[in-house]
């Protein structure tokens, strides 16, 4: 991450190449739990993006004065602070969405995407790059979970964003908005994403990061979390 990158490439990095959900397989819990409807995916994505941008900015600003020893608790405090702010704002101005997302809003704290970006990007880069990284990753996450939500809502309830779309085409299969459908749709979408990027990779001859996701996802970021203290 040390080399200078164009701002634009930082922004787009999170959307496709390192899409947090489909490529890095981070933040799986909310990706599966709240995606029964496209609208919920959008709300969750927006909330997480807010936290991501805020914590990336603050961490990038204070990165030089925070000693390594207390790095982890400082990061956790900053992230938890932004999460609580977003939680209160949602409760005040969008109570419907807040009710739908329930405990998964405070659970943004333990969403690996945010911690991983703090540790891998914001800690090493300036504030502007960090904001862009946050926005890019946030958009990538939002698009991914809105997509999962859309697929589940259309197949499972026959609606999209609450609008009926499949009235005369087929009877919706409720299974898709139940928990098993979450795993299933996620599995199929990751496979599709693999297929697409695989073709691209073969074209460009870059075979490097194929298996990085699975195993290195969450355990990876937890390890990073404790690496400095062990």
């Amino acid at each position: 991450m040390e080399e200078k990158k164009g701002f634009l490439s930082i922004l787009f990095n999170g959307i496709i190449k390192e899409n947090p959900t489909f490529r890095l397989l981070l933040g799986m819990c909310p990706s599966l739990a709240v995606t029964t409807m496209a609208k919920n995916g959008l709300g969750m994505g927006a909330a997480a993006t807010f936290v991501l941008v805020g914590s990336n900015l603050v961490i990038s600003l204070i990165r030089k004065i925070v000693p390594d020893k207390v790095r982890i608790p400082v990061f956790i405090t900053v992230i938890a602070g932004f999460t609580t702010i977003v939680h209160m704002l949602l409760a005040a101005f969008l109570p419907e969405i807040n009710k739908q997302l329930g405990i998964y809003i405070p659970l943004i704290v333990v969403n690996c995407i945010i911690f991983a970006r703090a540790e891998m990007f914001a800690q090493k880069n300036g504030p502007i790059s960090s904001i862009l990284d946050g926005i890019g990753m946030g958009i990538g996450f939002t698009l991914a979970i809105t997509l999962i939500g859309s697929v589940r809502e259309i197949l499972g309830a026959g609606t999209w964003m609450g609008i009926p779309v499949t009235v005369n085409l087929f009877d919706p299969a409720v299974l898709f908005i139940l928990p098993p459908g979450g795993f299933m749709v996620m599995g199929l979408l990751v496979a599709a994403f693999n297929k697409i990027t695989e073709r691209k990779r073969k074209e460009t001859g870059n075979e490097a990061d194929s298996e990085a996701g699975c195993a290195a996802g969450c355990p990876g970021c937890s390890k990073a979390m404790h690496g400095g203290e062990a």
Binding site: M28, V110, C214
Partner: protein, 193 residues
Amino acid sequence: MKELFAILIGAMFVENFVLSKFLGICPFLGVSKKTSTAVGMSGAVIFVLVLSQAVTWLVNHYLLVPNELEYLQTIAFILTIAALVQLVETILKKMIPSLYKALGVYLPLITTNCAVLGSALLFVERQYSFVQAVFFGFAAGLGFTLALVLFSGVRERLETCDIPEAFKGMPITLIAASLVSVTFMGFASLIIP
């Protein structure tokens, strides 16, 4: 007693943390490759869950609620959990090396396990008493264990299967998880009306 039993059945089967509430998905997918690691991880999770439920309940009940600081719940809980995990790790290392050997590698992974923070947030939402909250943590841990151990069996079999290229790794694991989750839906009718 009846209430505790309802919590046990509820947290283990009906609303299994992993398979129906989607809490603790990361370790569920990350360390379920072999049954032995699944058991180790589960042991560590149960241990931390019970302990953290007790401590966070006390923090919430005696520090936050009386001072009307409920809005600090998320921040207080996550810091408590992080500190607790660190403390447990240090103490085990010094005092009970054999247990540390068994659980040690899994402990650092637990801070970011949504199941731990999730159960803390849930006992607030459901207004559990101290005993209920601790028991809920224990039951949720058992549910996590059940899902993880069952699923590791499934995954060990997947290893020998011939899987299409794009599905290798995570996708096929997720689809297998979907099928295990379907079986757990059968427990839904166990709910006490």
